[in-house]
C-alpha cells in the first residue's frame, strides 16, 4: 500500500510523513511530491492508494491534479484528500467538481489525519 504526500512546503510534507510514519510498520510506503507536476508523475508511476494533496501549489494546483487523476482510467479509484489552509477561501463546489473524495483543513489534526488514512486503507 502506498500513500503519496503532496505539498510544496517541505516542513508540511515532513509533518504529514511523521504523522503517518507508524503506518510503515504495517507495510505502507510513504511517497513525497513537491508540486503538482511531480505529483501527477508519481501517481502514474506508483499508483498510490491514497493521496494527500495540497490545493495551493505552484505549476499545477491541487484541483488540476485531482481533475486529471479522476479523468484517467486506472487512476480514478485513487482516494484523494485535498488539504486546504484554514481561513483560505475553499471552493467546496470546485472540490466536488474535480472529484475529490474529501478535504481537510490545515493546521490539520494529526490524529484525524492518521485515522482517515487508516480507514481509507482499511488498516
Amino acid at each position: 500500500m502506498k500513500i503519496l504526500i503532496v505539498d510544496d512546503e517541505p516542513h508540511l510534507r515532513m509533518l504529514i510523513q511523521q504523522t503517518l510514519e507508524e503506518l510503515e510498520d504495517k507495510g505502507v510506503e510513504l511517497l513525497m511530491a513537491a508540486d503538482g507536476e511531480q505529483a501527477l508523475e508519481t501517481i502514474r508511476e506508483e499508483r498510490p492508494d491514497l493521496v494527500f494533496l495540497d490545493v495551493m501549489m505552484p505549476r499545477k494546483n491541487g484541483f488540476d491534479v485531482c481533475h486529471a487523476v479522476k479523468q484517467e482510467d486506472g487512476l480514478r479509484h485513487i482516494c484523494i484528500i485535498l488539504l486546504t489552509a484554514k481561513g483560505q477561501e475553499f471552493d467546496r463546489q470546485r472540490g466536488q467538481q474535480v472529484g475529490a473524495d474529501l478535504y481537510m483543513t490545515k493546521p490539520f489534526d494529526p490524529d484525524a489525519l492518521l485515522e482517515k488514512a487508516r480507514s481509507v486503507l482499511g488498516i
Binding site: H11, M14, Q18, E21, L23, L31, P110
Partner: protein, 525 residues
C-alpha cells in the same frame, strides 16, 4: 513511531540508496547488506568471512557481509545513516508534537468561542488539556462573581486527588496569579492501607494555572498525575496557554449569563409591575371615585382621598346612603403593607360594606365583621376601622371605632374635638369580641374629619412626624372650608412638611360636613 529499519533507510524515500550502491561497487567485494532477519537487501549474497553488525542503541538492524575492511567501511556509513535518520525522526517527532499542540490550542479557541455556558466551556477546555498534558485527574475551579467561593465547573478522574476548592494550593495560585507545579511527596495511591513502609511510594505531581482575564483571576485549572512522572516546565507553559484561552471564554460566559439574568429580572419586574397596576386599578375601583358623589344632595357634602405609598395599599374608605337620611361612612387601615395588606383590605372593606348596608347599628356591624374575619383568618392580619352613620336630617352620629385613629369633629365655630374612641379591638384581631357603640351630635355647618395614621405619622427628611398637633392646627384654620378644600389644605400642608421625603405609609382622608343652613333642618344649630 515506526521502527528504524535498513530496508526503509535504503528504500525509495531516502536519497541514501545511490551512495550506498556506489560504495558497494567501489569497495572490494563481494559485499551484501542483510536485514536483521537475514534477508538480503542490497549487494551480493554470499557467506563472507566477516559479518559487521549495523546496530543502533540496543538493537541490531542488520549486517554487512564481505571482506573485513570493506564490510567495516560500509558498516560505518550505514551506522552513520541510521544515526542521522534516528536524529531526524526525533526532531520530526518533536515538531509534530508542537504542531499537535498548536492545532489543539487553535481548536480550543474555536470551540470555546462557540460555547456560552461556564460548565460547557470548562468541560471543553479540560478535555483539550487532557489531550495535551498527561493527567490522572483534573478540574477547573471558578467563582461566578468576585468574592464568591470557588467551585468545580468541570472535573475528571478521582475526586480525592483534586484539591478542595478552599485548599491552600488554590488560594496560593489565586493570590499570586502564576502557574506552578507542586509535587506532593507523600503517598497518594491508597490512603486506606495506612502509611507506607517505604520502597514503592509514588508521589503526586500537580500543575496549576490561574484563569486570568482582564486583571482579575476567575479561577484556576488543575491537573494531577499519580503515575509518578512529575510535570515539566513545558507542561506548565502549555497549561498556562490553555488557561488564558479558557479564562477569556469563561469571562464571556459569565458576562453573557449576567446579561441574561438582568434581562430575565427586568422581564419579571415588568410582569410584576403590570400585575400591580392591575391590582391597583381593581383596588381603586372598589372605592368611591366620583366626586361629588351625591350631587343632588345639598344638605351635606362629603369628600375623600387615598394616596398609597406602594402600588397597592392597605387603607380603605367608603360611604353610601343606607336610606334617604342615613349616610354610612367608614375608614380603615390594614396591618402590614403591600399585596397581602391589599387583599385583606379588599376583604375587610367588602364585609363592612355588605353588613353595614343591612342598616344595623355600627357596633353590631363591627362585631359581625370581626366574627366573619376571625372565622376565616388564615393570615393573622387585622384592620383598624371606624364606621359611622350620620343622620343627615337630625345631625345625630352613631359610630363604633375598631381601634382606629379617632376622627375629629369640626365645629362650625372652629373647634376641633376628637371623638370618644369607643368601640373595640381592631377587626380580625380577637375572637368573639363585643363592640361598643357611641354617638355624637352635629349641628349646622359641623363636620367630621377621618384619617389614617399615614397623616400624623408622615415624616420629613429629619424623620420628624407631621403629628396630630399639626393636623389639628390645620383643621382649625380650614374649619370653615368645604370638605374637599379641607382635605386639599391638609394635603398641601403635608406635602410642604415632608418636602419630597419618601412616603412610607398610605395616606387616606375623609371629610363630611352638614350644610350650614337648610330649611326644615331638625338638628340643633
Amino acid at each position: 513511531m515506526a521502527h528504524l529499519s535498513l530496508k526503509s533507510l535504503l528504500g525509495a524515500r531516502f536519497d541514501a540508496a545511490p551512495s550506498v550502491t556506489a560504495l558497494i561497487s567501489a569497495l572490494e567485494g563481494p559485499l551484501g547488506i542483510e536485514d536483521a532477519a537475514g534477508n538480503l537487501l542490497m549487494g551480493a549474497a554470499r557467506a563472507g568471512p566477516c559479518r559487521v553488525p549495523v546496530a543502533h542503541h540496543d538493537g541490531v538492524l542488520g549486517h554487512v557481509i564481505g571482506p573485513a575492511a570493506s564490510a567495516e567501511a560500509l558498516g560505518a556509513l550505514l551506522r552513520y545513516l541510521v544515526a542521522k535518520e534516528a536524529e531526524r525522526r526525533a526532531l520530526a517527532g518533536e515538531v509534530l508534537h508542537l504542531y499537535r499542540e498548536i492545532h489543539l490550542i487553535d481548536q480550543l479557541s474555536e470551540d470555546l468561542t462557540a460555547l456560552l455556558e461556564v460548565s460547557a466551556v470548562s468541560r471543553s477546555a479540560l478535555e483539550q488539556a487532557r489531550r495535551l498534558i498527561a493527567g490522572t485527574s483534573g478540574g477547573i475551579l471558578v467563582r461566578d462573581k468576585a468574592g464568591d467561593p470557588l467551585h468545580y465547573a468541570a472535573r475528571f478522574g478521582e475526586d480525592a486527588a483534586l484539591p478542595e476548592p478552599e485548599s491552600a494550593y488554590a488560594d496560593s495560585v489565586l493570590e499570586r496569579g502564576v502557574a506552578e507545579i507542586v509535587n506532593v511527596g507523600a503517598m497518594v495511591s491508597d490512603c486506606s492501607s495506612g502509611p507506607r513502609t517505604g520502597g514503592e511510594s509514588r508521589f503526586r505531581s500537580m500543575i496549576f494555572a490561574p484563569l486570568r482575564a482582564k486583571q482579575r483571576t476567575l479561577g484556576l485549572i488543575v491537573l494531577t498525575n499519580d503515575t509518578g512522572d512529575p510535570y515539566t516546565a513545558a507542561d506548565l507553559k502549555l497549561l498556562h496557554t490553555i488557561a488564558l484561552q479558557t479564562a477569556a471564554a469563561i469571562e464571556n460566559s459569565l458576562m453573557c449569563a449576567e446579561m441574561v439574568d438582568a434581562v430575565r429580572y427586568r422581564e419579571q419586574l415588568t410582569a410584576i409591575q403590570r400585575e400591580l397596576d392591575t391590582a391597583r386599578a381593581i383596588q381603586h375601583s372598589l372605592l368611591p371615585g366620583i366626586f361629588p358623589p351625591f350631587p343632588d344632595r345639598t344638605d351635606f357634602e362629603i369628600h375623600a382621598q387615598m394616596t398609597s405609598a406602594r402600588a397597592v395599599g392597605g387603607d380603605f374608605f367608603d360611604f353610601f346612603l343606607i336610606d334617604d337620611d342615613d349616610l354610612g361612612f367608614m375608614i380603615g387601615d390594614v396591618s402590614g403593607k403591600g399585596t397581602p395588606a391589599a387583599l385583606y383590605m379588599a376583604m375587610t372593606h367588602t364585609h363592612v360594606k355588605t353588613v353595614a348596608l343591612r342598616g344595623i347599628a355600627p357596633e353590631e356591624c363591627m362585631a359581625e365583621v370581626n366574627r366573619i374575619l376571625r372565622k376565616d383568618n388564615a393570615s393573622s392580619m387585622f384592620a383598624t376601622c371606624f364606621y359611622g352613620i350620620l343622620n343627615t336630617r337630625t345631625g345625630e352620629l352613631r359610630y363604633s371605632n375598631a381601634g382606629h385613629n379617632p376622627p375629629y369633629l369640626i365645629g362650625s365655630s372652629g373647634s376641633i374635638t376628637p371623638l370618644d374612641p369607643r368601640g373595640g379591638a381592631p377587626l380580625g384581631l380577637l375572637p368573639h369580641k363585643e363592640y361598643q357603640g357611641a354617638s355624637a351630635q352635629l349641628g349646622l355647618g359641623d363636620g367630621l374629619f377621618l384619617y389614617t395614621d399615614g397623616v400624623p405619622e408622615a415624616n420629613n427628611s429629619e424623620l420628624e412626624d407631621f403629628s396630630n398637633e399639626r393636623l389639628v392646627e390645620v383643621l382649625r384654620a380650614a374649619a370653615a372650608l368645604p370638605s374637599r378644600e379641607v382635605i386639599d389644605t391638609v394635603n398641601s400642608r403635608l406635602l410642604g412638611f415632608t418636602a419630597g421625603a419618601p412616603q412610607s405609609d398610605d395616606i387616606t382622608m375623609l371629610a363630611v360636613r352638614l350644610a350650614a343652613n337648610r330649611p326644615g333642618l331638625e338638628c340643633a344649630a
